[in-house]
Amino acid sequence: MTTVEDLPRNTEAASQAAPPTLRLEDISKTFRATRALNDVSLTVKPGEVHGLLGANGSGKSTLVKILAGFHAPDPGGLMRFNGEEVSLPLMPSDFRRLGMSFVHQNLGLISSLTVLENLRLAQIALPGGHFINWRREKAAAEQTLERYGLDITHWRRIDELSAVNRALLAIVRAFEEIRVECESTGKPGLVLLDEPTPFLPKEGVEKLFKLIRQITEHGSSVLFISHDIDEVMEITDTATILRDGRVSGEIETREATHAKMIEMIIGRSLSKTENAEHEERHFEPFLSVKDLEGDGIRSCDLKVGCGEIVGLTGLIGSGYETVPYLLYGAIGAKAGRLAIEGGRETPVAEMTPKKSLRENFALLPGDRPTQGGVGSIPVYENMLLPDIGAYFKGGFLRNGTMRREARKLGEEYEVRPNDPDINLAALSGGNAQKVLIARWMKRKPRLLMLDEPTQGVDVGTRASIFEALRTAAADGMSVICASSDSEQLAEICDRVLVFARGRIVQELTGAAVEKDLITQACYASLDLAGLRATDGQKPLRTGNEHD
């Protein structure tokens, strides 16, 4: 089926005269009332590595989804591929024909199958074939691995490979998918890499960059989507930066500086910001955690005061979002000790959800349908689940009392429609979240931990969740809120801890708790820790120390 020969040199095709590989003009996307993308244009030249940068909410992921055919853009936009106009939305059949392929962050490899099977999946699973010539497939796979200099054995299962090799394999596969097509038409292709690096060590990133260079040598282009400014500066030739749904700039990477890039991401240069709302307050200590380790967290100390709202943030892959789960005992911690109200230190590894409930801790997970509540069970049962024992009186579970209580809570937290008997799944995301907030607030927890509490939630709900958090915090409830949304953190937090590579690298307090400063701290976090160079040999702490 596929003959493997030496690659023809496509470099001539990549000459200046050739049309851009990808050209987007005036792409917009509106979701109900919000404009996620506003007349975005983008040009990827043949043979270049083009970076796509932007903070959360900049429209970056919406643009990627339009390119992947998940979303249809608003009418009026235009896409050209190698000069040929392509009708939007893209259809699954378009990608191979055009020579476009993707590597999404989850890589899309099937971990229980072998390297060979994954690499040749498209060919093997192609309709029409009745017989798999394994010998030929094996030869083709080996040749591919050799061509890109990957030191991977074809019969290994994916789950036996290192993270780096998995990423490399996924990229090789993506390029192989379009290579034959590109060779036959003589036109360059495009590989989109969506955040391929956050979970890789430094040496891995270098290998990956070498592979990207190999791809562009054949004349094809790479669109490199990343949060990491350093990586974008290192690997890309040009970069497009998005902000608030618009292109805030396109730059030659060679001429850009780190500070300039941050400025384009955030929208203004960072000097002083006036932020009168946040003043440093003193809190009585409530929880102190030392040397926490486990599931991406390498070593972290943190303290939360009574009534304090502490935000955890960082770039993707920094591990901040696992801290609430580790403390709650939802994920087993490897190491670390915690002490409540200056009491005895106990290992975090001993925490279980049950124990956390006994301490009156609460966790509002980010994954609502699988961890928060059960969609196929009515609202009142979901709402009162942790307290269900309290409604067992005189040998009977008081369903009537439970319904009344749920209706009362539903009113207080503005659940709409406020019907305790309908299934949780019948509510909108925001209202389901209110039900779960009500579940925990009812218990008046001493510590409430949240992971992305406003994800998939409408603006009104967002405001009422914040209101509830502030009120409860004023009454002494401590809050740990993990979020990638700087605006949200700035709005509610007294203090924000910025993570990078599993460690806290900066602590923002007082006036520093401000949207742009938080975003900037995230982007600067890798440099701040100096972790790039040493890749985490020792726990560097350059942020403000706790007092």
Binding site: G373, V374, G375, S376, E381, P386, I388, Y391, L397
Partner: protein
């Protein structure tokens, strides 16, 4: 078809309520129609109390099996071994009581203990070793069938203590043999636990959202072990009743009840409390299927139809129960 269809848009809520009401009692209605149908077809033999009396007694073990199944099913695990557990239990009674002269009460207690042991055995593999419940209970079905053949020499053992037979089919209450009331008693207990105790709700959450249950402080594994042990215990109780109904221990026929019991468990989840496995629904469904099989047999339809009926009913029941729950994800994976 429903009254809801004629209702105007103004009283939509009442029409929704009517639809729900209809949904809850539809199976009872269909059962009634089935009885009327057979009574018209067989006016001289079918509509007789004696006929129903036998039906109530002979399907009591199946009713208990259906009740046994819905406990782990609610917690998200399959127990395909209930038929074999029932057979094992009735054969333990036969072997001990008839061949080894163990008193009947002690024999029964040992049979029930065997049921608990089976449940623990399942729990060991399903929960500790994380083997899918379908695999474990399918395997243990064959395992127990073999053990039953070994201990009974593959023969039916007659002559079980008359006390057991008397206690199961020796007398009637309101014209219905005692056997039925054992199933009824089990259903009442289960109804109480499912609907009126926190344990019942925890069981439901464990089945529908393990992670949700765990994060809300429910001891998920203990609940699942408890469900499997309960299933073993109730299935062995079915074996005791089965030994009483037959007056002997039969090493083979017990497995025939597995399919109708499963069909009843799923069909039962479409009625009374649609969308949840519930004991009353299971009981109604068992007797609905029992009526169908009895009627068909009386009409003189050949034996193979029973198998077709049972298998067809199972697939249809699961389909209906899935449709009742709409687009919600199935509980059992």
């Amino acid at each position: 078809m429903t009254k809801a269809g004629q209702a105007s848009a103004a009283d939509r809520t009442s029409s929704v309520r009517m639809t729900r009401l209809f949904e809850r009692y539809a199976l009872l209605l269909v059962w009634l129609l089935l009885i009327i149908g057979f009574s018209i077809a067989l006016p001289n033999s079918f509509p007789r109390w004696g006929n129903f009396s036998i039906l109530f007694a002979s399907y009591a073990p199946a009713a208990l099996l259906a009740l046994a199944i819905i406990v782990p099913l609610t917690a998200g695990d399959y127990d395909l071994a209930v038929g074999a557990t029932m057979t094992l239990s009735s054969c333990i009674i036969g072997v001990l009581n008839v061949w080894y002269d163990v008193p009947i009460v002690a024999s029964i207690l040992l049979a029930l203990a065997a049921g608990v042991a089976v449940g623990l055995f399942h729990a060991l593999f399903i929960i500790y070793f994380r083997i899918p419940s379908l695999v474990v209970t399918l395997g243990s079905t064959s395992l127990m069938t073999g053990i039953v053949q070994l201990i009974t020499n593959s023969s039916t053992i007659g002559g079980i203590d008359n006390a057991l037979i008397m206690a199961v089919v020796g007398g009637r209450l309101f014209g219905v043999p005692y056997a039925f009331y054992y199933a009824l008693g089990a259903a009442i207990v289960m109804w109480y636990v499912f609907d009126f105790t926190p344990l019942g709700r925890r069981l439901l959450f464990v089945g529908r959202g393990r992670e949700v249950a765990r994060l809300n402080g429910i001891a998920v594994e203990r609940v699942r072990i408890g469900a499997l042990v309960t299933s073993g215990l109730v299935a062995s109780t079915a074996g005791v009743v089965y030994a009483g109904v037959l007056g002997s221990a039969d090493p083979y026929s017990g497995l025939n009840y597995l399919l109708p019991a499963f069909a009843a468990a799923f069909l039962g989840s479409t009625t009374i409390m649609p969308g949840r496995f519930n004991p009353w629904g299971a009981i109604v469904a068992v007797y609905f299927l029992g009526t169908g099989i009895t009627g068909l047999t009386m009409i003189g339809i050949p034996l193979w139809v029973t198998n077709v009926f049972n298998g067809g009913a199972l697939i249809l029941a699961v389909t209906i129960s899935q449709l009742t729950r709409g687009r919600e994800a199935p509980d059992i994976g």
